[in-house]
Symmetry: none
Subunit: 217 residues, 4 copies
DNA sequence: GATGAATGAGCCTTCATTCAT
DNA sequence: GATGAATGAAGGCTCATTCAT
């Protein structure tokens, strides 16, 4: 029973280190990419010794994975939350947009790191890692929203997963464009721009189906 | 005059090697990314010795750059051609879609490699290399098409560069989705899907013209 | 104030390594020459890992240069000291002989390494490095002693730089002969042999030149 | 019997190649040193293909060795000739000086290559090769001249091999100084300078020793 | 427990040597 | 016989990981 508090203390300290390391790592990974990033740099930036880093994470790859998964989990939770609470597909999409943009604004390094990966929305990421599974999960949740929207005639009749991927990259392009442009626009402008784009890209054109199709050709 | 044919032969052989190496390299780079790709692997896949590889390319980095630039140049030429010959913004966009899809279908590994980079449409690509400049050029050409379309009231009134980036990733997502799905759809289906998506995403919604246009200007 | 000792300790350890590596390297370089010497060998001989070697010296070339320069600096200091303190050219030469022999006896591997270079007293050493400049400096200092001796009618009327080079190789031959012969003679014998040789080779023969020649014998 | 002429022709052609390659090699070795010299360069300079080079010499090392031995043999022959024909030690030394200087003036690249080795007069040259043996032979022949001179009271009473080595480096320094200075002095000046130096360095000083000293002056 | 110096496996690149033409 | 393109073993250097303090 005496060991309990000590164990707790250890765990608490470990968690503090964990977050601290992840933040440093994200910045390094964002700036150099996985391979070019040196654990030494992470250690320096975090102000922790190599030993401490390796006491918390078994390997460089694990740090990377952890970052991807941890943030991914948060995004996933966000998507799940939206999927659970928002009945209307349009409202759900709108909520996702707000949620994602807020999240990325809060974690710009992770955004850059994520953008660097590029393959996120591609098929088979190099490692058969759980990060891919996670991302698939996010895409699936989004796809589900699209599926419901398609069924209701709100969204265009395309493969929901395809729409889901399109949605994700739109999100990413918007933000990467924002990063590239010096992060000048404010949150609401970003949200509106993405809302507009999504509205256009995914909404079934008025009167489409049957008749008006002739006009769109 | 006797030396001429020999020199030509050498050059011809060198070009064959060059293409052969680039193809092998693109596959390796596509699968592992630049850093994790080992020249040894490229050499094995190409069925050529290290020495031969290094007789054609001075370094691993040069192979990478060459691939990016060579293909990039072709894509750029394509975009320039479209920009020059197609007067109407809508026709130009349509021609780009056909051109890109045909090109990527012919070079799937390069597509994957390109997708891996991810940063193409992001701000500051890792190296201050000409590849970035090239990509910027492509984006600028596309942006010009959008600018003309916006001026004519055909496309939505958004930053043309932003639209240009969106267009590029849509292209890439479509194709990466196609790769992920086992390359089942045929060319025309792909083109139509992308045409539809672009039409929706970039065309000024019917009725949005006229009145509100004044405000947005 | 706490960091001071740690920093000092690091520096001290680094210096120990530095000397240790240089000693091992000198032996390897002495035995194989620069190109044929493998860093691996140095590492093995020093009992240090590659990483440690490269933590102290940035490159193989730097190890070589460091050795040449470090010892060269000591020799240069010796020559400068002699040039400064000894008024009479003959005493100066004598002091140089003692100094050099003592120095080389203390650093036989460096002697062999230096002998290998061979070009020390030749025109254009391979690298346009400071080592050449250093050696030139030593030769110039010696030449100055000869110049003064020539002016006083003590030394033969030849190009001082030529005499300086001759003097240097005599030194080297004596010692290399001593190394080749198993290092049997003691310090004083070596010094006497070189003194005698230098006396004969450089002193103005009796009766040559004017009057005072007689006194110089 | 038909094969004989063909065999002879082959041998003759081979000899022409051999000399041609050696000359090119000497220049390359002189300029870059053994390790840094590339067989490719030798091939280019000689205007012969790699295959031809390797048809004549089994390896790069063999080219080097051949050059050293071939020229060394000529020098050895020269020394042997002098040793055989010149009775008086002083005349012999004088003849050697003329012979060496003429030889080196005729083969400046070999001189530079030889100077680069540096170890000629050092103890144990890296390879236990015949070149060392050869050089030892030259040194021994010279030593014999000195021995005779010492016995006659003409030369100073020092180890003849030591004197022989000293003589060799003096030769080399003189020539390397000449090379360094832009090869301005003419043959006779060089010979006189070396004669003077040798006379001073090796001759028994007047009045040293008893009787014969008078004669030696 | 924390440190950071030490380790050494692994990669890019070169060049002596070979062999198909 | 001559060619020179192709080969691949080997070496300099880096950096993820460990362990003595």
């Amino acid at each position: 029973m005496r060991r309990q508090p000590r164990e707790e203390a250890r765990r608490a300290r470990n968690d503090v280190y964990r977050q601290h390391i992840l933040e440093a790592a994200e910045r390094i990974f964002a700036e150099h990419g996985f391979e070019a990033a040196k654990v030494q740099h992470i250690s320096k930036l975090a102000g922790l010794s190599m030993g401490t880093i390796y006491a918390v994470f078994p390997s460089k790859t694990d740090i990377f994975r952890a970052s991807l998964e941890e943030r991914g989990r948060e995004l996933l939770a966000l998507a799940e939350d939206v999927a659970r609470t928002k009945a209307g597909p349009r409202e759900a999409l709108s909520a996702l947009i707000e949620g994602y943009i807020d999240y990325f604004l809060a974690h710009p390094n992770w955004l850059r790191m994520h953008l660097r990966l590029g393959t996120s929305w591609a098929a088979r990421p190099s490692g058969t890692d759980s990060r891919a599974a996670q991302w698939c999960h996010v895409l699936a949740l989004q796809a589900d929203i699209f599926r419901r929207g398609i069924a209701k005639g709100i969204f265009v009749d395309e493969d929901p997963l395809y729409l889901s991927k399109m949605f994700s990259v739109m999100d990413q392009v918007l933000l990467s464009d924002w990063v590239a442009g010096g992060m000048k626009e404010d949150r609401d402008t970003l949200i509106r721009r993405l809302q507009d784009m999504a509205e256009r890209a995914f909404s079934r054109p008025a009167g489409s189906g049957r008749v008006s199709a002739a006009r769109s050709a």
